[in-house]
């Protein structure tokens, strides 16, 4: 498959996953805001922090206010990661590699694009229709994941897509956990209070983990939540499960399941092993923030290695 095309499909899936995550963050946060005392705006700041675009937000907006955060993360053309930009990039990527994907996938991505575009052209939004807007985006993305799996052959295109999706998903789960965990632990007066429980539940819901977590652990505790979101091997959004998923595709793309054939495989395999052989107590002792920060950096470096190993022109021409 063409290197350019592989890169495009990898990013198409990353953009979709990103948009879906953002839509979910917002939806959950809306829900949360209804439970909190009125005029409580502090909860919107972590939302921007999770996306890693806090500096950009500050340069564009004078103050932190709910509607500004929503605009920034959803519609803002100046935010390269806003939902609108992500969906529009995903669709532009899909257009560029149209022959690689099925009619089903293309038409759904196109429909999602028009849905979001119509939404962004709307002048006013009430809280109510914003929530259904986010929920439509979420569903639209999930429908795509299903079509991607149900209609595509397990060929290179599919694997590059899954690889992109898994890396993006691992990154987003680590960021949500990082930001929220510290905020929640940082307010000891609330521990065990009902407010506290709502917040922890919201964290789980932000990564669609609430139902599966409850089924496994029942009670909400900080360390079990961290364990579940980082190290669970069966929950599809935990960091480790994403790495396992990514590795399967990378093995298929590299043609070797023993050791490594390229830098991407080497780095991904090391990070996966690292998580396979660590206990949550060790992580908390090291410092969860430091640990997650390290994971995020390694994910970035893996993404670069994937580019160098498969997409970069120089590499292929010289090989």
């Amino acid at each position: 498959m063409l290197g350019r095309v592989a890169n495009t499909i990898y990013w198409m899936n990353r953009y979709l996953e990103r948009a879906e995550n953002y839509a979910r963050f917002m939806d959950v946060n809306f829900n949360l805001s209804l439970e909190l005392p009125p005029n409580e705006t502090e909860q919107w700041k972590p939302l921007v922090a999770i996306t890693g675009d806090w500096k950009l937000f500050q340069s564009l907006y004078s103050d932190l206010e709910k509607n500004k955060v929503i605009h920034f993360l959803t519609f803002d053309e100046n935010n390269p990661n806003s939902i609108c930009n992500c969906i529009s990039n995903a669709r532009e990527n899909a257009r560029a590699i149209r022959p690689e994907i099925t009619k089903e996938v293309w038409e759904q991505i196109n429909a999602l694009y028009y849905m979001v575009k119509d939404g962004s052209e709307k002048k006013t939004f009430t809280d109510n229709n914003l929530r259904s807007f986010f929920s439509e985006i979420k569903k639209g993305c999930q429908l795509l994941y299903g079509m991607y799996d149900a209609t595509m052959s397990r060929n290179e295109a599919w694997h590059f897509g899954k690889l992109g999706q898994a890396i993006e998903r691992a990154d987003k789960t680590s960021r949500v956990l990082d930001v929220k965990y510290h905020l929640l632990l940082g307010s000891p007066k609330d521990i065990g209070s009902s407010l506290d429980l709502i917040q922890w539940a919201a964290l789980l819901k932000s990564v669609s983990a609430y139902d599966m977590y409850r089924k496994k652990y029942g009670k909400l505790t900080a360390s079990d939540i961290a364990q579940f979101l980082i190290l669970d091997t069966t929950f599809p959004r935990s960091i480790l499960a994403c790495l396992i998923r990514a590795e399967r595709s990378l093995i298929s793309l590299s043609g070797s399941s023993f050791g490594f054939n390229n830098l991407a495989q080497k780095q991904l395999g090391s990070l996966k092993s690292q998580l396979e052989y660590v206990a949550i107590e060790d992580i908390i002792k090291t410092g969860l923030h430091e640990y997650l920060d390290d994971i995020q950096q390694k994910l970035n470096s893996i993404s670069t290695a994937i580019y160098d190993s498969f997409f970069s022109l120089e590499n292929q021409v010289n090989s």
Binding site: M1, L2, G3, R4, V5, A6, E92, R95, A96, I97, R98, P99, W106, E107, N110, A111, Y114, E156, L253, F310, F311, L313, Q316, V317, S319
Partner: protein, 478 residues
């Protein structure tokens, strides 16, 4: 139900494809009209709206040149089809086959023996001054002696009910994806009509196209690619559509590299040899080493690899010389010269401004003529005499005097009309016809076409860049 009312429908002064001069429905349209009358206005409008939505969802969009806003548009598809009877079609088929065969021999000749020039059938300055003539190809013969693998000539029907060839498109004719997708959409719009009417299918176009491309090389399982300028090109939808339908790789210039005069594409597993390129990039941009030095759309060394016979380009470079509107005027003589036959499908009468007597006539009668720049297309660079101002006419006279080689003129032809949905009524709109021919082992004309329609009332400019839309074209088996 508000019934469709054709009592105010105008048929005077033009050939109408649906009604004769007495407003009697023509046989080809009988069943269709019955259907129309059954569904009424409201339903017809809602079918039309569903079509617009279907086009958006299929991604049949394009960006208009000179439009900085990057707005995506659809090529409006009017759901009232253009219907052609079998007898009429067989005639068109024969005429196009004859024309394409002769044009291919002509191109081969002018790049090799140049007999047609030596025998003074066509002045050699006419050929050598054409900007599409590529000196670099002199002495070259493409694989299987075929230059114009894909042709999309523009035909019109005049007030006399006869077809004329308006121009030939031998470079990169576009629009075939609309022929195919329009049919898919109309099958959903009028399923019951397709059951009753015996409409010839067009779906096998992409299969024949793939076979044609593969037939140009002796390599057993050749790697076939479609070369596109990229997603910003107005015809990008078509490039990706054809690649996908043929199961060919869709490549951009940057995906290709030439090593030792062989063409490769850059894949995730190293370099892979490319055998046949259906290129949708104009000659001038295919290779910055030979042609336009600033081109980023082609690939360095591609032309050299082509001349060595290591890759096949479709259509062959250099075919554009036939698209030159001044060369067009000589096509009747070209057909006679190579095939010894009279031309089946006539040309529109053409005045060559480079010839003194013609030029004099054109300048005196400019208000009655359509003047065209010989190297332009897409409806640009033309003057429609009867619809122009004195000032515009004077400007064109100056242009002609300044560079006569660059202009031709034709009488204004009243293009035939087909009923078309306009606001809340149905009115006649002018159409042309672009059938597609594939030249592999034989010359095959796909039984269908892109019918372009000038949506503006009274307009005869059907180009998509100038407010034109399209119609599905049904060729009947009976």
């Amino acid at each position: 139900m508000q019934k469709l009312d054709f009592s105010a429908y105008e048929t005077k002064g033009f050939y109408d494809e649906m009604f004769d001069e007495n407003k009697q429905v023509r046989p080809n349209y009988k069943l269709f009209l019955e259907r129309l009358e059954k569904i009424g206005h409201k339903k017809l409008n809602s079918l039309q709206h569903a079509t617009d939505r279907a086009q958006l969802s299929l991604g049949m969009t394009f960006n208009v040149y000179n439009d900085n806003q990057g707005v995506e548009r659809i090529l409006h598809l009017d759901i009232i089809p253009r219907i052609i009877g079998n007898k009429e079609w067989i005639f068109l088929e024969k005429g196009l086959q004859q024309r394409i065969k002769a044009l291919n021999l002509f191109i081969q000749d002018i790049y090799n023996d140049q007999k047609v020039l030596k025998d003074k059938i066509i002045p050699k300055e006419m050929i050598f001054s054409s900007i599409s003539y590529l000196k670099e190809l002199e002495g070259f013969t493409p694989p299987k002696d075929i230059w114009c693998h894909i042709t999309g000539s523009d035909l019109i029907k005049g007030g006399d009910g006869n077809y004329y060839v308006l121009e030939d498109n031998l470079r990169c004719p576009s629009g075939v994806s609309y022929m195919l997708e329009n049919r898919e959409i109309l099958k959903r719009t009028f399923p019951e009509l397709f059951e009753k009417l015996d409409v010839k299918p067009v779906y096998n176009y992409t299969h024949i196209l793939r076979d044609t491309l593969e037939s140009l090389t002796d390599i057993e399982k050749p790697t076939v690619v479609v070369l596109t300028p990229g997603t910003f090109n107005a015809a990008y939808f078509e490039h990706s559509y054809l690649a996908q339908q043929m199961g060919a790789e869709l490549v951009e210039g940057g995906d290709l590299i030439v090593k030792n005069d062989k063409v490769y594409m850059i894949t995730t597993h190293g370099l892979q040899r490319v055998d046949v390129i259906y290129r949708r990039v104009d000659d001038d941009f295919i290779d910055p080493l030979v042609f336009n030095k600033n081109s980023l759309l082609g690939c360095r060394g591609l032309f050299g690899a082509y001349l060595k016979g290591n890759v096949t380009l479709v259509n062959a470079p250099g075919t554009g010389v036939v698209d030159d509107k001044a060369v067009y005027a000589y096509i009747p003589r070209i057909i006679k010269y190579y095939l010894g036959e009279e031309m089946i499908l006539p040309n529109v009468q053409t005045y060559i401004c480079d010839e003194e007597s013609d030029r004099k006539y054109v300048i005196e009668n400019i208000h009655n003529l359509v003047v065209k720049q010989t190297d332009a297309s897409g409806g640009y660079g033309m003057l429609i005499g009867p619809k122009s101002t004195k000032k515009e006419q004077q400007e064109f006279v100056a242009k002609i005097k300044n560079n006569p080689r660059n202009y031709i003129a034709q009488p204004m032809i009243n293009l035939s009309r087909v009923p078309t949905i306009a606001d809340n009524t149905i009115e006649g709109r002018h159409v042309d016809l672009r059938p597609y021919a594939l030249y592999g082992d034989t010359i095959k004309i796909i039984p269908g076409a892109l019918t372009r329609v000038a949506l503006k009332k009274g307009s005869i400019v059907v180009n998509s860049s100038q407010g034109g839309g399209s119609k599905d074209t049904w060729v009947l088996n009976s």
